[in-house]
Structure formats: structure tokens, C-alpha cells
Subunit: 365 residues, 2 copies
């Protein structure tokens, strides 16, 4: 028997819900949708082709799969209602924390009924919101965590993973606990560190207005995340507070170790820690969709209109896609240094086209 | 009497020393140079027009200004030797820490003689090294700290500041103690935080290889500095260890405060801290040479060869200089979001040329 997922219900038709609807429709699914705000569901329908329904129950009625894409506080309730209203459907969600939602759902409907709930987390999104900014490309190639554990129906998890692949994303299996622990370190802790550093500099600035004059590229890199949406992030961090707290503790312990090495004027110990971090950083892929690894080229360009246009055109003419680009203002003005990240398989062609155009690229990674 | 600086000696003719020589020669100065490695001095001479000398004494003999551009451990000795060999010259240095060098020099020659030593710190440089990569543009428009205090000869400090301006940089007066305290927060602490975060994730990776799959743009921003040169940075941090230690303490205190708010599930308190950091971050100028402030535009582009070339060409054609550009892979593949930073006075023209070319820019700051 073919157990492909064909009929999908989306609950919450904002940017992410509507983007998933678009990707599912592209893959041949029939999609129905519901939103707490009927106007949002209507707009999502007009833009994406999903069929807006007047109630959650109506939307999930014929679904093989229900995708809960509501704000975090409404996720567990929406999952519970869907499990009851669609007794044969797989139910998943897209929240960026998992364990607390899983235990909430299990506490309310029991382990047997909740076996059809397969927690999910597509690691994508956009700074924008609303169905107007939705696009199927939001899910293209992204890592989409499938958070099954021992109590989850195995076949349901396998069907969900196959559907994720069919609509263009990349399923990665992680238990809810592992998911929460890992995102605490690579996503939630960076947010805390970035805001803390920016907050510290801002307080110092009251007494020392020159401080931000001295802030070069490195400080800007570290504080970029501090501009993220505070309401959204405080909600995510509180939902994952145990793991975020543990990650903060590990981070503080590392800071204290470097502090102790500095107190002892032990440059060798500090260098050893920095060496390990440097080699780990150089091995970090620029983005998850580049599976073969990446290469980073450093190139100097003049700091003037047209300089970036010229170097990016040179690479475009050579059919080299730029995976990442960073302008490093190490010499704070006058010229710029650019770090270009390309897929490892394009490393040589990038160098060849850059050199042919008169640039002098240095390979960093 | 005209007290302009006309004759300059550069001690240590690596990338920064030779770049300063080039900028000084461009401004009409005569420059002599010396390096511990005679071959480096010869190469610097051939590339820049500075006259290489066989000894420190010979190089500083006729100088109005001696610029010590040696590695940190050799700075204080070179300053002391120069004060003795050139009894009328102003002596400055370019080290990225100041107070420990000042007190070392004063302890060795006394306050009276050391009054001619005016500590300096040009906040520029390059990831490269050696005179071959020197360029006068390394100093163009950079902030160059003049670290005079009450014991420094005022006229010497004023002459040095005038010369810094004459060769194209931007003198900023800060006492050695304030300088060290501020760079500890905006330069040295970010290095410690970045390496600590990367080291933490790398250790976790041994057990959880999936962790770096989940690492999106924010994590990459925060860990970029971890790829900096460990030998150089461990030396700088140890030289400024008291201030760096204090900055680490302040940072840990902020992290602990957020940790306590999370323990208490106090989303409002977390949001309050994030709000303050966000507004400070949005006010941070992209780079010090842009004095009028900056504007940041967010634009979506397809993730394919030529997309960056097209948008940067559009701005180049409109004569808009791009001060900073960041690719945000929030939807981890398929398309990209670009944050374009331009000078505030170009904010409107950037929007007009982008819109005319079919982009839909959103202003972030």
C-alpha cells in the first residue's frame, strides 16, 4: 500500500505555514488551512492555493498530515485538538523548542494517542512575517528536524520524513531532548551572548562615548544577533530554559578558564584554547545545504562604489555561486577585505576566475 | 615656528610599519626604517621608498618622530632605546595595549625623559603580514588613538595628532588606561567570547555530530573571530589581562542575570534586556569612518550565481557605496536575504535605485 502523504492541513497560516503549504502544493499535495484570524487564512488561500477552512476541525477532517504552525504558546493545544479531530492523521508542529511541548501533549492525551504526534522543527524562516512574504523556497534545502523518540509511532515518523524530503527539505532525526540541547548551544546561547555583549558596551557607552568608535568588525559580527526580535526570542528561551541555562553554565565555565589563564599570564594556555577554536571554526560549513564542505577566499577590494559589483560579477560570469560573503573592515577605511565562501568543489574555479580578473585571492579555509 | 613633523623613523617594517611609511611619504615626509631582520627592511625600502638603515640608532638619528611598530614584547625596549638615541624626537608606538608599555617605559627612563613618548594605537591592520602587503590605504580614515596622559609632553602629543591627520587618519585622544579598558570590551572580550563559544560547540560535536548541521547564520557570525591568529591574540590578551579579566567578569555577570531570569521563567525581564541591546545595536554605526550614521536595508535575492552581482551593480550604477553587506541565510537555502549598510545620507537614494530595479527593500535601521 502506498502510504504517501497527499492531504495536508496547515494550522496557522503565517509566513512559515503558508510557505510549507506552497512547497506541499508544488509537490502535488492538496492543502487545507485554518488560522485564528480568518482574514489571514483567506489571504494565505489567495496567495498559495491552500483551501481556507472556517474551523480547525474542518481543516483537519480529511488530512493525512496536520502541520501546527501557530505561535509557541498555542502549539500543544492545537496538537491535542488535532489528534482528537483527525483520529487517523499524523500531527506535527514547527516550534523551535520540542521537549516541553511533547511532555505537555503526552500529559494531556496519554502516550498511546500521542504516538501519532511527531514533533518537527524546520530550521528556516524569515525576519518577515505574514502570508504575503511566504515562498516555497523558504523550505528548499533546509534542515528539518524530525523529533521522534521511543514513544513515537515509527511508521508515522518515517512517513513524515519522506514527505519532508518530497517537499524539498532535509529531514534530520533527533530526539526532542537532543534537539533542545543542541539548539540551546548553537542558536539560543549565541542570542544570549550577543545581547549581553551589546548591553554591556551600551552601558559603558554612557560614561565612555568613545567606546563605539573603537568597535571594529569583530564587535559588529558578535552583536548582529542582538538586533533580533526580543518578544519572539524571550519566548523561545523561556520555553527551552533548562537547556539554555545549562548552555550558559558551560559557556561561563569556559570564560572563567580563560580568565584564570589570563590571571596567571599563561599565554600558552590561552593560545591552546584559541588554536582549538580556530581549527573548529575553519571546518564549519558556511551553510547546511552545502554538503561537500566549503572554501573561503580572502580578497582585497577598494572601498568605493562598484567594487563589490565588480567582484561578484566576475564570479557570476564564471558560474560560481557565492555561498557567503563578508566584508572585513580590518583597515577601518580606504579599502575592504572580502571573505568569499564557495562550495569546496568550486574552490579552484573561484580562484581561477578571480586571478584572471586581476584579484589576488588568499585561501583561508 | 613651524613644528610640523617632516622626518620619520619606522622601527619594525612589517605590514603596519611599511603602510605607515607609505602614508607618511605620500604626505611629503622623509622616512628611514630599521628592522631586526635586515632583509625585511630592504624589501620594505624597495616597496615603499623608505630608506633602510643598518641600526636602530642610525634610523632614528635625524628623526622628528620615531614610530615603534615591532611585536609587542619588543615595544618598550625599542621606545627606551629611541628616547636615548634621538634626544629631541617624539617617540610613539602602534601596540594594541598601552598602559603596561607606558609604565614599563617610565620605570626604565623616568617620567621626565619619557614625556616625549606619546603612546599610540592605529585601529587598523590586515590579516596579512609582511611589507609586501603594505598599503597607504591601511591608515586611510582609521581611528588612531593618541594615548597621552598628564605626564606626557602636551606639545609632543599635539604634534603627533597633527601628523596623524596629515597622513590621512583620525586622531582620537584617550589615556592609556581608558584605551585599555575600552578595547578590552569592544575588541578583546569579543575574541574571548567567540573562541569560547566555538570551543564549546566543538567539544559537544564529538558526542553530537549533528550540532553543526543546526548552526545557522547567527552562530557563524558569533564564531567568525574564533578564526583569528591565536599567537597574536593570546599575546595581546595577556598584555591587557587586568582589563580583559574585568570585562569578562562584567560579561559573566550579565549572562548570570539572564540565566536567573530564565530560571524564574521571567520572559518579561529577558525581553527587557533584549530590547535594550537591540536598540543599542541598531544605533551602532557600521564603521567608524561613516560619521553621519548609517542605514540598513534588507532585500531578498535568489541564491544563485549572479544575484549578488546584480544587486551590487544596481547600487554601483546609482553611485551608492556599500559600507557593509551581510548575507542572512535565515531560510537556510533556496534564496538569500541581504542586509545592505549604506551611509545615512545615501539611505533614500539606495531605496530608490533598489526599487527601480525591482527589489523590495525593507529598512531595518
Amino acid at each position: 500500500m502506498d502510504d504517501r502523504i497527499r492531504r495536508v492541513a496547515i494550522l496557522g497560516t503565517g509566513l512559515l505555514g503558508t510557505s510549507i503549504a506552497l512547497a506541499a502544493i508544488r509537490a502535488g499535495c492538496e492543502v487545507e488551512g485554518w488560522d485564528l484570524d480568518p482574514d489571514v487564512a483567506e489571504r494565505a488561500g489567495g496567495l498559495s492555493g491552500l483551501k481556507p477552512r472556517a474551523s480547525l476541525e474542518e481543516a483537519v477532517d480529511h488530512a493525512d498530515l496536520v502541520v501546527v504552525a501557530t505561535p509557541i504558546p498555542a502549539v500543544a493545544s492545537s496538537v491535542v485538538l488535532s489528534l482528537a479531530a483527525a483520529p487517523a492523521a499524523i500531527v506535527t508542529d514547527v516550534a523551535s523548542v520540542k521537549a516541553s511541548i511533547v511532555s505537555d501533549v503526552r500529559a494531556r492525551v496519554g502516550v498511546a494517542t500521542s504516538a501519532r504526534y511527531v514533533p518537527g522543527h524546520p530550521m528556516g524562516g524569515s525576519e518577515r512575517s505574514g502570508p504575503e512574504h511566504a515562498s516555497a523556497s523558504v523550505v528548499d534545502g533546509i534542515v528539518w528536524v524530525v523529533g521522534a523518540d521511543a514513544a513515537t509511532d515509527e511508521r508515522a515518523a518515517a512517513r513524515l520524513a519522506a514527505w519532508i524530503e518530497a517537499i524539498g527539505a532535509r529531514p534530520v532525526a533527533l530526539t526532542p531532548e537532543r534537539h533542545d540541547r543542541l539548539v540551546a548551544i548553537v542558536s539560543h546561547l549565541p542570542q544570549v551572548a550577543s545581547s549581553s555583549l551589546m548591553g554591556l558596551a551600551a552601558v559603558e557607552e554612557a560614561d565612555e562615548p568613545e567606546i563605539l568608535l573603537l568597535a571594529a568588525g569583530g564587535f559588529r559580527d558578535l552583536t548582529r544577533l542582538a538586533a533580533s526580535e526580543p518578544a519572539l526570542w524571550s519566548e523561545i528561551l523561556v520555553a527551552n530554559r533548562t537547556e539554555v541555562g545549562a548552555a550558559i553554565d558551560l559557556f561561563i565555565r569556559r570564560l572563567e578558564r580563560i580568565r584564570a589563564d589570563l590571571d596567571a599570564a599563561d599565554a600558552t594556555a590561552v593560545k591552546r584554547a584559541f588554536d582549538a577554536a580556530k581549527s573548529a571554526r575553519l571546518g564549519l560549513a558556511a551553510k547546511p545545504t552545502v554538503r561537500s564542505g566549503v572554501a573561503v577566499w580572502q580578497v582585497e577590494i577598494p572601498d568605493e562604489p562598484g567594487a563589490l559589483a565588480r567582484i561578484t560579477s566576475v564570479l557570476a560570469d564564471g558560474q560560481v555561486n557565492i555561498e557567503d560573503l563578508q566584508i572585513v573592515h580590518s583597515p577601518e577605511g580606504g579599502r575592504g577585505t572580502v571573505h568569499l565562501t564557495v562550495a569546496a568543489e568550486n574552490a579552484d574555479s573561484a580562484a581561477v576566475v578571480l586571478a584572471a580578473a586581476g584579484y589576488d585571492p588568499t585561501r583561508l579555509a
